[in-house]
């Protein structure tokens, strides 16, 4: 809870938000938006939400920016068309002002920032904090709530990633060779330095990602963050070499297979639970088949399994989405 840093970053964030929408060059506004995301990470760390900050750094600032840049690469960087739409903008400004004033009026009704006695901080969340260790043996409450108490949410969240990948793949994937005027003007440079550097970094990145996935019970991290880092390492491979090299490791069929497999691991653990007599996702019954575990440790182990499923889906789908977006669906060459 550092108010000063929080307030300073929030002011910077406002400036970034306005700049990102003001700049005419799309590449510029994407970069400013990346800065915006990183400042958001700082704010979330100030508010003690390290897991969220971690996810935002990996997903919002990292992969999100890469997606945006890929799209700009395949479309147009500067919008030359100008039409006067001041009236519409003014009207929308009025609408937004109405919404804003409704919200501003409620502010004084809300509990103070940082008030530990506010209803949101006492009712359900207090139960999680007080019982996480006893119920699941997991000190990182975020992980235990994410994968167990509200595991059903997380299953569908993984599903959202799956949907996004399948949707983008179905939309963009094409085997046609594009017309000349649609190919991006410049080809990527082929540099030895970049190859060697990424060669050095990729194994360590993957090792770190595995650590993040596996150590999510005790430190910030978990399936999403680890999965995104793994995905980023594959994206780095595709950027620094070329798509052929990257697709040697994970080709199109394998990508689809693994994306589905990850969700399947998650849902499969849930289904096993009700074949063993519990409710869906009631991991405690898994102690019947896992050796030497009581019902509480079974929850902890099952959470690890679930996180692996999440990481698999997220990794492969981020990589797949990047491939589709940056090559406009041709999967031959991109940025």
């Amino acid at each position: 809870m550092i108010f000063g840093l929080d307030a300073l970053s929030l002011v910077l964030i406002l400036i970034c938000a306005i700049l990102a929408l003001y700049i005419k060059d799309l590449m510029g506004s994407v970069i400013v938006f990346g800065a915006y995301s990183f400042l958001m990470c700082v704010v979330w760390t100030c508010n003690a939400a390290v897991d969220v900050a971690f996810t935002e750094a990996a997903v919002g600032a990292g992969v999100g920016t890469v997606f945006l840049v890929s799209t700009i690469y395949n479309t147009r960087r500067v919008d030359t068309y100008r039409k006067n739409r001041v009236l519409k903008q003014l009207f929308m400004f009025l609408v937004v002002c109405v919404v804003g004033s409704i919200l501003l009026k409620t502010i004084t009704d809300l509990p103070h920032w940082g008030d530990a006695q506010a209803p949101a901080n006492t009712h359900v969340s207090a139960y999680f904090l007080e019982n996480s260790i006893a119920d699941t043996h997991v000190p990182n409450v975020v992980t235990s709530v994410l994968a167990d108490y509200r595991g059903f949410d997380t299953m569908f969240e993984t599903c959202v990633v799956f949907v996004a990948f399948i949707a983008i793949f179905a939309l963009l994937r094409t085997r046609k060779i594009p017309a000349k005027d649609l190919t991006p003007p410049h080809t990527p440079v082929d540099s030895l330095i970049i190859k060697v550097a990424s060669h050095l970094m990729i194994p360590f990145m993957q090792l770190f990602a595995l650590y993040v996935v596996a150590h999510g019970h005790y430190s910030p991290g978990g399936g999403f963050q680890g999965g995104v880092i793994l995905g980023a390492s594959l994206i780095l491979l595709a950027i620094s070499y070329d798509f052929e090299r990257a697709l040697e490791y994970l080709n199109e069929k394998k990508i689809i297979l693994f994306v589905a497999l990850g969700v399947l691991i998650y849902a499969g653990i849930g289904v096993i639970c009700f074949f063993l007599g519990g409710n869906f996702l009631d991991y405690s019954v898994l102690s019947k088949i896992l050796p030497a575990t009581d019902t509480i440790m079974a929850r902890s182990h099952a959470m690890l399994g679930v996180e692996v499923g999440v990481a698999l889906t997220v990794m492969v789908s981020m990589y797949g989405i990047y491939l589709c977006l940056s090559s406009n669906g041709r999967m031959d060459k991109g940025i």
Partner: protein, 496 residues
């Protein structure tokens, strides 16, 4: 296994979507069969659940075996058991229907289409069943993302229309999320029943009002209530036929159901009608929606686009009925969810058949269609009569309840709007009958190819779903009193 039926309704299509994706890599044509099997199983499970709800009352299913406010729970009461059954049946019908159409329109993307299709239905089923406000958001996003993808799997103008839908849909979902945030900050809970209890005991603050307002606006955007409807007509018109057949009956109706759910089991019904007292404003909004939808529909020459504007008008029926604030109005609104679901489905299926054979849906190109495609037009007529409100189709009964609700609440404009809308529907559909039945085939000699000219029906896998839907429409109409007594009235006993 019977106790697990509520969750199996959702998990079966989810698992099936994954298997369709994997199997589709090697055997793309199996995905159609798999989808049908999935929906048969889902329908069976939802029927079991429906029966159990009628016998024993509300079922609560705790996921992960965590007690209610801490874990996520599924609450199945009389109304949503019925709606879930409807969704599963609509899914099954559209799945059977889609075989030829998908092959024609999508080519090598068949497994992805079916995978997204099943996931969309999964999302809608989950939205209806869940008893957790945030879980609802996640499922809402699943159904939204899949619907964007399915709508955009077409060509041409579909992309920009879907893009607008994506922007509007995200605003809607975000407003809903913001509303849930305001609820969380006031109550500290996400479980709907728990929130209901806490809000009933608390003096109502301005923040609760804002929570309600934002959830409602979010849902109104999602269901395309009149001033917020602009995304719907284009998105549905340029979509692939099977997609619009699936989305038009389900997406908007599920949003209406979420609105009803929020009004009855999250916020206090008494709070909404006696403390806030917005009903006059919102019923007038509904009146405007009905009138505007009807007028825009009159202006269209494209049959599919005309139907999309009729959806906008029908949304007005349901919103108005729910906000009349009496038992008849509420019965009408919830009955109309079911009735309108099947009505819209029937009409879109018929239009799909026409597009499959003729190539477009312009009314002017439908000359002589009654002699050419008689079976399709029988289905179309049943749907049209239901839309107009001719007994014994179900459209008549829902309108009856709505009108008596309006009479009870003395909401004369709403009553007049309902009647005008029926009249407009009659004009619209008789225009098509006029073109299709009384005007001869254009510029071709009927004696040259008598066989081909006389009879050129859509394939059998498209006709059977259409006729089944038509039969269901009449069936629902005949069993109205049973549906109302056994399903809607027990639901209303909870809060009225």
């Amino acid at each position: 296994m019977i106790e697990q039926a509520p969750i199996l309704i959702v998990v079966t299509p989810l698992l099936a979507a994954l298997f369709i994706t994997i199997i589709g890599l090697y055997r793309p044509l199996y995905s159609w069969v798999l989808t049908i099997i999935t929906f048969v199983i889902t329908s069976i499970f939802s029927f079991i659940t429906l029966k159990k709800v009628i016998e024993t009352g509300t079922i609560r299913y705790m996921l992960g075996n965590w007690p209610a406010p801490f874990g996520i729970e599924y609450v199945i009461d009389h109304l949503n058991a019925l709606i879930v059954f409807m969704i599963a049946v609509v899914g099954l019908i559209v799945a059977i229907y889609s075989k030829h159409d998908v092959k024609k329109e999508l080519g090598d993307k068949i497994p992805h289409f079916y995978s997204l299709f099943t996931l969309l239905v999964t999302g809608l089923l989950g939205i209806t069943l869940t008893g957790d406000a945030f879980n609802l958001y996640v499922l809402l996003e699943i159904s939204a993302l899949t619907s964007y993808a399915l709508l955009a799997l077409s060509k041409g103008r579909a992309y920009i229309a879907t893009f607008n839908y994506l922007i509007m849909g995200t605003i809607g979902a975000c407003f809903y999320l913001l509303g849930v945030g305001y609820l969380l900050i006031n109550t500290g809970s996400l479980n709907m029943t728990d929130i209901f209890v806490i809000l009933s005991n608390n003096p109502t603050s301005y923040a609760v009002l804002v929570a309600f307002l934002f959830i409602m606006i979010g849902m109104w955007i999602k269901m395309a209530l009149f001033p917020l409807h602009s995304w719907l007509p284009n998105a549905y018109t340029y979509a692939p036929t099977s997609t619009s057949c699936l989305l038009a009956p389900l997406m908007t109706k599920v949003s209406v159901y979420v609105m009803l759910r929020m009004m009855t089991s999250v916020f206090n019904y008494n709070y909404i009608f006696n403390v806030l007292g917005w009903q006059t404003i919102i019923v007038s909004l509904a009146v405007i929606a009905i009138l505007a939808g009807s007028i825009f529909a009159l202006r269209q020459d494209n049959l599919k686009k005309m139907l999309t504007y009729l959806i906008v008008a029908e949304i007005g029926y349901m919103v108005g009925g729910a906000w009349l604030g009496n038992a008849n109005g509420f019965t009408g609104a919830s009955y109309h969810i079911i009735a309108d679901g099947f009505m819209t489905l029937c009409l879109f299926l018929a239009v799909g058949c026409i597009i499959y054979k003729i190539g477009d849906a312009q009314i002017s190109s439908m000359k002589g269609i009654f002699t050419k495609m008689p079976i399709t037009m029988i289905g179309f007529l049943v749907g049209a009569f239901s839309m107009i409100g001719v007994p014994p189709t179900c459209g008549f009964f829902s309108k009856w309840y709505l009108i008596s609700g309006a009479y009870e609440a003395q909401a004369w404009p709403f009553m007049v709007a309902l009647l005008i809308s029926s009249l407009v529907n009659a004009i619209l559909f008789f225009r098509i009958i006029e073109v299709g039945y009384f005007q001869a085939m254009p510029n071709e000699d009927p004696e040259a190819h008598p066989k081909q000219q006389k009879y050129n029906e859509a394939p059998i896998s498209m006709l059977i779903p259409l006729l089944t839907t038509a039969a269901i429409l009449i069936g629902i109409g005949l069993y109205t009193s049973e549906i109302v007594t056994y399903l809607i009235e027990p639901f209303m006993d909870n809060f009225l």
